[in-house]
Amino acid sequence: MAEAGRRLLRNWRVVLGGALVLAVLLAALLAPVLAPYDPLDQDLSAQLAPPDWHFGADAHALGTDSLGRDVLSRLIWGSRIAVTVAVVAGVLTALLGTALGLLAGFFGGRADALISRLVDIWSSFPPVLLAIILVALLGTGLRSVIVAIVVIDWTRFCRVVRAETLKQRRMDYIDAAVAAGLGPRAILWREVLPNILPLALVLLTLEAGIAVVVEAILSFVGLSISSDAPSWGGMIAEGRGVVHEAPWLLSCAMLVLLATVLGFNLLGDGLKAELDPVLR
């Protein structure tokens, strides 16, 4: 185990991606401590103030927005929404997609035909358009955003997990388990599932990054949480409107989003390379 951990830490993707993801997680957890200002506090005497690196009592390190709210504090508090969506939507998507993928791959037959057909139809729709339509149907808000992500993205897990389950099922250890008298449910839970888990973990990491972008997109469009609450997508939307007067607003929010997405992508790619014995 310690050996495996050391090996992971020698992969630069895992280290850099992990560090970025960890930074976002810490920002979300420690937001009340880290943020220099209340993210909702308006200072109408300092609207669209540029970034100020003189660490004085009332300096705004990354400037302020059009209501005089501190950009750095809003970015830090905004990470809570990003992390919530990454974790909740990621895990729910993983559960649904993995369950259906296992079912289709392990039992085959009609269940497989039905699920595979559904995956084909589902993934032929452009995801962003589908997300916007779904949120239109469900009403705006963070819960709708999470539901939309789960409903759209389960196919990513399902497709890969199904293929991997099919591969595992043909292996000798399954025959051995059958010979030892295990029932199909026991084989699925105790034999197949543990072998699928590393793959599901990689997919979960990549999905978390996707979920963060989708939430930012829906906030940007105005279909996620209300525009007062600090969210990266909302800040991007506001920054886009005042990009000539206050380019730091759009730039900072965009770079934070980019760093988070790249963090999850790097971590996922690194884990994939380390966990997949063939690639290693």
Partner: protein, 335 residues
């Protein structure tokens, strides 16, 4: 033969369209929320609200509403937009050309850039050129088009302001065009100043849309080119003394194109979907931007008309694709 094929595919599309129409129609009506709520002025009486419902046919059963809507839709009448108080068909007809031009330009950029990268990478296989191509396509894929678009706005709109960041044409100029296909009409009529202006407005959104697709094309085409270059015919051509570049471009590219075309086809559908967001980012007046407005305002007639428009677009793209396979692969043509 070809006509038969087109007809068969078009016939298959009808139930899909009907299914999409019914699904969207019913779902939009069973979710809570009054679609005319935003039109009701404060202090309106209950009768006013009922009259407003009757005006848009919302007082009838969902089935009756659908029959009415479908009958009108077949004649090209999608009703009146609730939020914009305009004819939905007219709105779509004036906005669709903007989206189509954007998609075409983005697809052209993606195909040209992706092919160039793949050919360059294959030409320099095993060397620094290939590594550079892999790195470029890796970055282009890792960054979502949303962030590419925003990054371009900051870089080329603010830091080094060389391109306009919103709209479709300079609003201070009169274009003097008769159709809504600004770029195509300006080019055909040789109004090069106008074409240049329109193109400048389209460049950033089109490149942002195109980059991830270009990277995907580069990857797939490069790996099938590598496979083709190992085939006997390519080796023979090399032995006969043709240069590596010539063999790649003249011999291998055509055979390597089939998997790329099938990938590009699926991705062009996604490109159309991607315009929704990119149009929003660049305030580009296409149907994607209109769709977001419609969703935010819960404008039922407009949402329905737009979704059906998107569905028809997707079906047409798939049809075009199906025919292009036949053109590329002789086995399919005669099969």
């Amino acid at each position: 033969m070809l006509a038969c094929r087109v007809f068969a595919r078009a016939a298959q599309a009808v139930p899909t369209l009907l299914g999409v129409a019914v699904l969207v129609f019913v779902l939009l009506r069973v979710v809570p929320g009054d679609p005319v709520a935003m039109m009701i002025p404060p202090g309106a009486s209950a009768e006013d609200v009922l009259r407003l419902h009757a005006l848009y046919g919302l007082d009838r059963s969902i089935a009756a509403q659908f029959v009415l809507w479908a009958g009108q839709a077949m004649r090209g009448d999608f009703g009146i937009s609730i939020s914009l108080r305009q004819d939905v068909s007219g709105l779509i007809a004036s906005r669709l050309p903007a989206t189509l031009e954007l998609v075409l330009l983005a697809a052209a950029i993606a195909i040209a850039l992706g092919t160039a990268l793949a050919v360059f990478g294959t030409r320099h296989a095993g060397g620094g050129g290939e590594a550079a191509v892999d790195a470029v396509s890796g970055v282009a894929l890792a960054v979502p088009d949303f962030i590419w678009g925003l990054g371009f706005i900051v870089l080329f709109g603010v830091v080094w302001p060389v391109l306009p960041i919103s709209g479709r044409a300079d609003p201070t100029h009169t274009l003097g065009l008769t159709s809504h296909f600004y770029l195509i009409e300006a080019l055909l009529r040789l109004r090069l100043g106008v074409a240049r202006d329109v193109l400048a407005h389209m460049l950033m959104p089109a490149v942002a849309l195109a980059l991830p697709l270009a990277a995907m094309i580069a990857r797939v085409l490069k790996s099938s080119l590598a496979e083709q270059m190992g085939q006997d015919y390519a080796l023979l051509a090399r032995v006969k003394g043709f240069s590596r570049s010539r063999v790649i471009v003249r011999e291998a590219l055509r055979n390597a194109a089939i998997p790329t075309v099938s990938l590009t086809g699926v991705q062009v559908t996604f490109l159309v979907g991607g315009t929704v967001l990119i149009e929003r980012i660049f305030s580009y007046p296409g149907i994607g931007n209109l769709a977001i407005e419609a969703v935010i305002n819960r404008d039922l007639p407009l949402i329905q008309g737009l979704i059906l428009t998107f569905a028809v677009l997707f079906i047409l793209i798939n049809l075009a694709l199906d025919l292009s396979y036949a053109a590329l692969d002789p086995r399919l043509r005669h099969g």
